[in-house]
């Protein structure tokens, strides 16, 4: 997903048993260690109100949002049939799949194409409606009606083709691969092909069950009823949100592996101003800052509030996408030139040092990562390549987020780089709440030639990166995540081949090496993008908060587990 936006992953893979693969995959990437289950104890740590400062997000509807800022909230609000463990990624396996609304992990057939779930008994949404088995099909159909960016997750379900062809006419009944029995509480999902990461796909918000009374349109005021320990009582885009305890949530009875939650209410103030959000926590008015710490004051904050700040390495990559469908970056030498001319160490400085330079697309925490450096900084060589490409003097439209200081500065830096190469650059600074929607829409004019982008894993497997972001087979007209319209047939075929491996082969040394080769090929042979850093994220808590309760899950800090001193 985007650090400020998320994305769906379409992963088709052969899996005899998805469970076996997940059990081995959970320790294969991300930053998790160990196999602890469930969240921390909340006994005696409840308190009335948690006040947080938040960055703007795209949507607060689980069917539409693809941003970490929303998913961090959703981890305590919207539950899928399965969930990721709400444990610290530093001390536990935060990507481990555990039963959510389902009573247990599913059974599946030998081929891994037929999954059967049984819902827990007595589940209710925050509006009092019972959680029904048929709600899963409704959720999937609703995603199609919404033209959700998560549609690709469901592409492997039998009978989904009609919905893919005409999303507006998608109904639960038309998805023949999903059958359910509300009385028995059973759900059966049939896949066209085995898919090793299918359970991961069921753990993300696009698959989180919503009541069948939920409107088939963007629902944000308030957002859909919740199945988790909290529900979103109100939301004003880019301004505020309010979470309250779900009155129908009963963890102890239901035994779900999600914490009850310590705060009774969570009040969120939204602002893209990193300086302001840090100031609010610094002054004690708010208790947690979801925004990145302002790089302008990082040294001072670290010195004065070091005990209240945490730095987290994340499975993320920041990169410039290059539009390969039109000049100048449909020219390989032009793309190579931008790679040579972009100094990652400069961009690390613009991020206040909260980053590690890279030229890989995959993050270094992955077993499939093999460090490459095909384009050491060399401005002269870059200029020569531009000359050879014949694109010098071309007009370039560069897009970046204009209300986030780090992205804005990075955009202006890259603009300077392109101008040094001889391009005529116009920079377009877009509000972060709409940025990815705009660059992901092929109808946007002027068409972005190059743009700021970032990616934070949905789950720790390379297809979550290559298949979503750089596979020509996943390009869509809107909500497109392959912003550069990267489409190299041999790479597409390789990705499909690796995705289709049986689970027993998904993490072998050879497979890992082949994924590393894909990473290498995309950069070295095709210069498909300009990756430049793996990001760190920060957590800044006020002096009232007990830092031991700051549990950093796969969806960032878990608000439900925060506690006071």
């Amino acid at each position: 997903m985007r650090i400020k936006q998320g994305r769906t992953v379409v992963l088709v893979a052969v899996a005899a048993t998805g469970l076996a693969l997940l059990a081995s995959a959970c320790g294969g990437g991300g930053s998790g260690k160990g196999t602890t289950t469930g969240g921390g104890s909340t006994a005696g740590k409840t308190f009335a109100q948690l006040k947080v400062v938040w960055g703007p997000t795209d949507y607060m509807d689980p069917g539409l949002s693809y941003r970490l800022a929303s998913w961090q909230i959703f981890q305590d609000v919207y539950m899928g049939l399965v969930v990721k463990a709400h444990v610290s990624c530093q001390t536990g396996d935060c990507t481990k799949i555990l039963p959510g609304l389902a009573a247990s992990l599913p059974t599946s057939n030998q081929a891994g194409t037929d999954y059967k779930f049984t819902l827990r008994k007595g589940l209710k949404y925050s509006n009092g409606e019972p959680v029904k088995a048929s709600d899963f099909a409704y959720t999937v159909a609703r995603d199609f009606k919404l033209n959700s960016p998560g549609l690709g997750f469901f592409a492997n379900i039998v009978g989904i083709d009609g919905c893919e062809k005409t999303p507006t006419s998608c109904t639960p009944a038309s998805i023949t691969g999903i059958t359910s029995n509300d009385q028995a509480g059973t759900i059966e999902i049939k896949l066209k092909n085995p898919e090793s990461d299918f359970l991961y796909e069921l753990s993300i918000p696009f698959s989180a069950l919503v009541p069948s009374s939920t409107p088939l349109t963007d629902t944000e005021n308030p957002p859909p009823a919740a199945s988790g320990p909290y529900y979103i009582a109100s939301y004003t885009p880019s301004r505020s949100f309010l979470l309250k305890r779900n009155p129908y949530w009963k963890k102890d009875e239901l035994g779900m592996s999600v914490p009850n939650g310590n705060p009774d209410t969570i009040v969120g103030l939204m602002t893209p101003d990193q300086d302001r959000s840090a100031q609010l926590v610094q002054s004690g008015q708010y208790m947690y800052d979801e925004n990145l710490l302002p790089t302008t004051r990082l040294a001072a904050l670290k010195q004065n509030y070091g005990s209240q700040i945490r730095f987290w390495s994340t499975p993320s990559t920041y990169y410039w996408f290059l539009n390969e469908s039109k000049p100048p970056f449909n020219n390989l030498k032009a793309r190579q030139a931008v790679n040579y001319a972009t100094d990652a160490s400069a961009l690390v400085k613009l991020r206040g040092g909260l980053a590690i330079p890279t030229q890989n697309f995959l993050p270094p925490s992955y077993p499939q990562y093999k460090k490459i450096n095909p384009y050491p900084y060399n401005l002269q060589k870059a200029k020569q390549l531009v000359q050879e490409s014949g694109t010098k003097g071309d007009h370039v439209d560069l897009y970046t987020e204009g209300d986030v200081d780090t992205a804005k500065s990075a955009g202006e830096y890259e603009q300077g780089v392109l101008q040094k190469l001889g391009y005529n650059v116009t920079i377009h600074e877009i509000g972060s709440a709409n940025y990815f929607t705009i660059v992901g829409n092929q109808a946007t004019t002027p068409t972005p030639n190059i743009g700021y982008a970032d990616w934070f894993e949905d789950y720790p497997y390379p297809s979550d990166w290559f298949h979503i972001l750089l596979d020509g087979d996943t390009i869509t007209k809107t909500h497109n995540n392959n912003y550069g319209l990267v489409d190299f047939k041999d790479v597409n075929a390789k990705i499909a081949q690796l995705d289709a491996l049986p689970p027993s082969q998904a993490f072998t040394a050879q497979t890992n090496a082949e994924w590393a080769a894909v990473d290498n090929e995309l950069q070295t042979k095709y210069a498909a993008t300009v990756p430049y850093l793996n990001s760190l994220l920060t957590s800044f808590l006020s002096s009232k908060m007990d830092m031991s309760c700051d549990i950093y899950t796969d969806s960032q800090d878990d608000l439900a587990q925060m506690c006071l001193k």
Binding site: T296, R297, K302, V348, L350, H395
Partner: protein
């Protein structure tokens, strides 16, 4: 004949008295000479003009400063470079970064702090320090001034020329012409200047302007110039129209008509000279307003586009640094204040000199 020549002022009386005393022949002085005499005695206005001209000269010399003192252009980034300060090599932007230890612990050394004002310690480089991209702040301040002044002055000039033409047409012809033009003025006047400027500036900064044979790229400085010129038209045209309406009924206009002078000749030779002093004063005041409007639009992202500098963009860029490097925003603010204040004081002095009884104001 120029209206008002028969007006008797104390200056004229003193002059007459002096000449009679001396026995010299009395010579008439033109209104312009009298105005210059009055202005010459207004030391505050002259000093303000001097300050404004000093700012203009400094900004005009920006390329000289950039090439020969700072050795750096206004848009030259320098994130990874270093300079010699008192014999020591200092990074322009502080170094740092992050390391992930084998146990997962993250060690961060904050980076990205720009170098502060060096004054003369770095041989002319970064006299006022660097911004977050390693650009020389002093160079950007001067180039920003060039852009702000250029846009302000040009926009004011264009606006004045168009306003004079429209005001003359509206007031001389009257009737339907006057009605249509007056409604156009009212329509533009109805929108707050900044809001209208933002709307037009933002729309044109996305794709530029490519119509009627005019091709302006998205970041072209002519775009904010044209936008500002457009929004200030009624602020000059309306008061001028009123003056011309009054003058149109004077006998000298009637006499010119009787002599067979056509409309254009009457407008240019009879009416225009009589409103010239008002035009001049309005122009001066509009320049100040145009500069302020440009600063406001650029601050909001609807004026000068990055990486080009303007005083407004410099203040905007400096917002994130207010707590650590407040001079990023304060310095351009001082330049703006000094420039606009000096223009306004000079404009007041000019108004007093040209027509002490005039009540020319820019009404918002």
């Amino acid at each position: 004949m120029v209206a008002g020549q028969e007006d008797f002022t104390l200056d004229t009386a003193a002059d007459l008295a002096g000449r009679e005393r001396d026995g010299n022949e009395v010579r008439g002085r033109s209104p312009w000479a009298l105005a210059w005499r009055r202005l010459r005695r207004n030391y505050v206005a002259l000093a303000s003009l001097g300050v404004f001209l000093l700012v203009v000269v400094c900004c005009l010399l920006a390329p000289v400063y950039a090439n020969h003192v700072a050795h750096r252009g206004p848009n030259d980034t320098n994130l990874t470079g270093s300079i010699e300060v008192n014999g020591k090599s200092v990074p322009v932007i502080s170094n740092g970064g992050a390391t992930v230890l084998p146990d997962g612990t993250v060690v961060v050394v904050p980076a990205g702090q720009p170098i502060g004002p060096q004054w003369g310690a770095a041989g002319g480089q970064y006299v006022l320090g660097a911004d977050q991209l390693g650009r020389d702040l002093a160079v950007r301040l001067l180039y920003g001034g060039r852009n702000s002044l250029r846009i302000g002055l040009t926009a004011a000039a264009i606006s004045t020329i168009i306003s004079v033409l429209l005001a003359l047409l509206a007031a001389y012809f009257g009737g339907a012409v006057d009605w249509i033009l007056s409604r156009v003025f009212d329509l533009i006047w109805a929108f707050p200047v900044i809001l209208l400027g933002i709307a037009l500036g933002t729309a044109l900064s996305i794709n530029g302007f490519h119509h009627a044979g005019i091709n302006l790229a998205a970041g072209d400085l002519w775009i904010p110039t044209a936008v500002i010129a457009f929004v200030f038209i009624p602020y000059i045209a309306r008061p001028l129209r009123g003056q011309v309406l009054a003058l149109r009924e004077k006998e000298f206009v009637e006499a010119a008509t009787a002599q067979g002078a056509g409309p254009i000749r009457i407008m240019l030779t009879e009416l225009l000279p009589n409103v010239a002093s008002t035009v001049l004063v309005l122009f001066t005041l509009i320049v100040a307003n145009a500069i302020l409007t440009e600063v406001g639009l650029s601050f909001l992202g609807a004026g000068v586009q990055p990486p080009n500098a303007s005083w407004g963009t410099l203040i905007s860029d400096g917002q994130a640094w207010l707590s650590t490097d407040p001079w990023f925003s304060i310095l351009p603010g001082i330049f703006i204040a000094v420039t606009v204040l000096s223009l306004n004081i000079f404009g007041d002095g000019l108004r007093d000199a040209l027509d002490p009884r005039a009540k020319v104001r820019i009404e918002h």
